[in-house]
Point group: C2
Chain length 333, copies 2
């Protein structure tokens, strides 16, 4: 347990004062001679400045708190990846917390992170509630939400409503009439409500004989798979999963039951997970630029940290990816 070497040790060894060393460290005015003496003193002592002492003075930590719903999620991974790039470029680090897809945990993590000396907080949220707004009142640091929206906060997200509409248009134009929308809890506004509403809006309006039945599942592959029987009980010609995971779970169910896709029923998802290209048949989906979303969130956080104003954005790039899992409906009588 060797004593930690401090800036003082370096100073005495180099025969200068603490402040001179500090200046050396922080690009201040230094004569070449002393600079080199200090350099070698640091070398021999193996000095490394104390992170906490420094931060106690300077007031900023170069730390951004990030809350993700899960670690092992495709979407989260992509968003984080985009965030990582932007943070790295700016010399920031991530302090990570997981909400386990729970609003309660999310709030708890927000509170905890706030007290950890971070400069800003980014929450990949599972839904922005009144409790969030209330909590934000005694936040003295910038907060950005990702993936969900609320008029009173700064957020960045994909346009789930538009995505739903695009999907509605796609399925409608293929002539499908009996559709099951396999979605998630409406406590998730973006995925649970917006995608569904967008879909129904375009698909149903003035579409004679069209019906869309809602079946609720969880977010994971498995729970979608489990809902397979219920879904099929409605004899749909198309099944729209609210996420690619759901679409894939359904696909698996159908495959095991020997129900052929897309001949007997079309299946789609949302998200653009690259693994969705590997299923059999490959899943038609709407691909979002999650990485871009992450980058955008961080870049705007940096702006906020810089005192600039930022405006929320909910129309991150997306793209319909039509693959083998859909075809024109055969509307039997």
């Amino acid at each position: 347990m060797e004593r930690k070497v401090t800036i003082q040790d370096v100073a005495t060894l180099a025969g200068v004062s603490k402040s001179t060393v500090s200046r050396y460290l922080n690009a201040g005015y230094i004569s070449d001679e002393k600079a080199s003496r200090i350099r070698s003193a640091i070398q021999t002592t193996g000095f490394r400045s104390n992170f906490f002492a420094r931060r106690l003075k300077t007031r900023d930590s170069k730390l951004i708190g990030i809350i993700v719903p899960r670690f092992d999620s495709y979407t989260g991974g992509r968003v984080l990846s985009g965030m990582g790039k932007a943070m790295e470029k700016a010399g920031y680090q991530a302090l990570l917390q997981v909400s386990h897809l729970s609003s309660r945990y999310e709030l708890e993590r927000m509170r905890r992170l706030r007290d950890q000396g971070i400069d800003g907080l980014i929450v990949i949220s599972v839904g922005i509630t009144e409790d969030h707004i209330k909590l934000l009142e005694d936040f003295d640091l910038p907060v950005i939400f990702v993936g969900q929206q609320h008029p009173e906060v700064c957020y960045f997200k994909v346009d789930d409503y538009a995505a739903g509409r695009v999907m509605g248009k796609t399925i409608r134009e293929l002539g499908h009439k009996r559709v099951v929308f396999a979605g998630v809890t409406s406590s998730d506004r973006a995925v649970g409500i917006e995608r569904r509403d967008g879909f129904e809006e375009v698909f149903s309006r003035g579409n004679r004989g069209a019906s869309v039945t809602f079946v609720e599942t969880g977010f994971d592959f498995q729970s979608a798979y489990n809902a397979g029987a219920e879904i099929m009980s409605y004899c749909p010609t198309a099944i729209v999963g609210a996420t690619d995971n759901i679409g894939l779970g359904v696909l698996r169910y159908l495959h095991e039951r020997g129900i052929s896709v897309p001949e007997e029923v079309s299946v789609t998802g949302f998200g653009g997970y690259d693994v969705a290209a590997l299923s059999y048949p490959p899943l038609t989906t709407i691909a979002f630029d999650y990485e871009g979303l992450g980058t955008m969130a961080v870049e705007n956080m940096l702006k906020m940290l810089d005192g600039e104003d930022v405006v929320s954005k909910d129309d991150v790039l997306m793209q319909v990816v039509v693959r083998g899992s859909v075809r024109k409906a055969i509307n039997r009588k």
Copy 2:
């Protein structure tokens, strides 16, 4: 920019001294009366103790640095997930960095993290080199490596060699003779060398007429796909991918070329990615308990932090998962 409220403010408002407040905060001796006065003072001021000041005194940060190869990787996500659970339980947080699958970056991140006031460091490594060992010499904090091994460090990993052997046995028993092993760079000891060596050892030894050709690809799906033509040029009856991603990439290539699996050629992977169950046909693989690995790494880090000794472990649970992508070889003349 309202002044930050400090422990002093609370003290004066409550009519006690700073130290009493500090004691209140840290479970010291306090009279009930003062305790409640302090409680309400904290309430009204909205006091929150300064993270950095606290850490400057107490010397520990409850922060564990973690380096992952990528954010958007299945394996990394699972390991992180396991780590997250264990850290949470112990009240630790993760300071995250990405190595981008590069040894150079990995070293750089290790250095950076070391100077960030973390209590310990866990590196999901892409390969432990001499530079790592050298760097470790002036590390004054516990370091654990995950996924790779080296006699001079503490590490936790799955038994890649054994996994290779198991796969070798599996393929051999199915009667395959002409095999292509689609692997990765040998700079990755675990995945690039151990899995391959284990496979060859069991598959080739005394296996009359057996041959295994090595084709190098990257870690990602796409580069495996790109290697498809080269792989097939050897006319294998079985293709063993060093990871599930590689297996899936190959599968995709074959599917697009109309080469049927497993009728014409068997394909396998390593890892147990859950998406590998969704491919067509579902991929035979060896599943590792990555989440358990992550948990184990953190639990042992906590031990080290506690001054206990820990021993490296390289035999994390694994399990062969035989799915539709393999069948008995038809060894035509």
